[in-house]
């Protein structure tokens, strides 16, 4: 029973409390680049979760035979091979989305999230917990991506998954699209706001100030 509770916390912890994007600063590059629409965000989330889980299992299986000195190269080669497979599958069956994602699928290889989790967790744990941890982190990453993608597509185009949700002013409705939402800066602002919101809800995540404000001593004199 205890083991099951353990697995459950391993799975749910990265969703909010230990979220890979907003707390661990892992995998931010792709989180921002592919969130102009919900469809690309979803594809990216699924690809990353698959790569992450499979590579965690693979590395956890060989963890006892892996010399420390060459482990980075071995891990990167495993991840790169999985990414090549995913990339080829996307090109074969989802050609349009694959073009929209351009090189960002290949960049899963150097996504710090994958290497970070295999390095920090999968290397020391049995395959099952490693897979659960990787899956949970993948879900936490997907959560952020889908929130960002949804917000940007909704306010940038008035659409969700390509369906017109808010009637556009051009077509007789009332909604004027905010094209800023589709540009790079808004992604930074939204993610900054999201970090702020999560850290206000969970104050223990806030970073300690580097400098205490100087104490006013004159009043005492």
């Amino acid at each position: 029973m205890a083991a099951r509770v353990d697995l459950w916390t391993t799975l749910t912890e990265p969703l909010m409390r230990q979220n890979p994007v907003t707390l661990q600063i892992l995998g931010i590059c792709s989180a921002l680049a592919v969130t102009t629409s919900l469809a690309t965000a979803l594809t990216m989330s699924v690809s990353l979760t698959v790569v992450l889980t499979l590579s965690a299992v693979a590395i956890s299986l060989i963890r006892r035979h892996l010399p420390d000195t060459i482990r980075l190269i071995v891990q990167i080669v495993i991840v790169a091979s999985l990414v090549i497979v995913i990339d080829q599958v996307l090109q074969a069956y989802f050609a349009e989305i694959s073009r929209a994602l351009s090189i960002y699928v290949s960049l899963i290889t150097t996504n710090c999230l994958v290497l970070g989790r295999t390095e920090a967790y999968a290397r020391h744990h049995a395959p099952l917990p490693a897979a659960v941890d990787a899956f949970g982190n993948g879900l936490g990453y997907s959560l952020i991506l889908l929130v960002l993608g949804g917000l940007r597509e909704l306010f940038g185009r008035g659409q969700l998954f390509g369906w017109q949700v808010l009637p556009l002013a051009d077509a007789g409705g009332w909604f004027t699209p905010l094209s800023l939402m589709l540009l790079a800066p808004s992604a930074f602002f939204l993610l900054g706001g999201l970090v702020w919101a999560i850290r206000s809800l969970l104050p223990e995540q806030a970073e300690a100030p580097e400098h205490e404000p100087p104490v006013q001593t004159r009043a005492v004199e």
């Binding site: 590059c29 921002l32 290949s106 960049l107 710090c112 790079a184 900054g192 970090v195």
Partner: protein, 204 residues
């Protein structure tokens, strides 16, 4: 010559790696708390990008591109799907080599930013430099200029962010916004500024 200069400018400013293309953000945010470490990272990025992009061009054109083996009687062989593994290998090896060369001949420089070099192996901006080079089918000279330009753009952006963040260390921010949150907002503002460089490409 002017074309190469234009490519350099557009790689450095219009297609700025961290601010417009969201590449290399993890190290960009993690190492920009102090201006000194930010500048070290910037110089290391320029060196590594300037070396790996042309090197990967040679490997891609010589071994992996469709038709590269036609001299051996295998004109249909297309190994381009192996590009990813080959590029990562080249990057890891050249980062290691660069570190060893610096350690041997320029110990002062190595002491200044040597500790950032191993990190750069898993930097998405560096891998992206090589992937863009294939995507946009640059020539050898163009790919060298592109690598240097992107590295230069990254160096400028990270040095600027480092300078701003070192001033903000004394600011009284809301608790939740401190650290990562404000870094994102700052990056967003800088990215807004860099967006104006896009006009430069249009007016040329």
């Amino acid at each position: 010559m002017t074309e190469l200069w234009t490519l350099f400018l557009s790689a450095a400013f219009v297609d700025n790696m961290p601010l417009t293309l969201f590449l290399g953000l993890c190290t960009f945010l993690a190492l920009s708390k102090r201006p000194e470490s930010a500048i070290g990272l910037g110089i290391a990025m320029m060196g590594v990008l300037g070396v790996t992009v042309p090197l990967n061009w040679l490997i891609y054109q010589g071994v992996l591109a469709p038709g590269a083996w036609s001299w051996a009687g295998l004109p249909e062989l297309d190994l381009s799907y192996l590009a990813l593994i080959a590029f990562i290998g080249v990057i890891a090896a050249s980062v290691q080599l660069l570190e060893m060369v610096l350690d041997r001949f320029f110990p002062a420089i190595h002491a200044a930013f040597g500790s950032f070099l191993p990190l750069l192996t898993v930097q998405c901006a560096i891998l992206a430099g090589s992937l863009f080079m294939v995507d946009r089918s640059y020539t050898l000279a163009e790919s060298a200029v592109f690598g240097l330009g992107s590295g230069f753009g990254f160096a400028i952006a990270v040095a600027m962010l480092g300078a701003i963040r070192s001033r903000l260390a004394y600011a009284d921010l809301p608790n939740g916004l401190r650290g990562l949150g404000i870094a994102f907002v700052l990056t967003g503002l800088m990215s807004l500024g860099f967006a104006s460089f896009a006009q430069m490409a249009v007016s040329q």
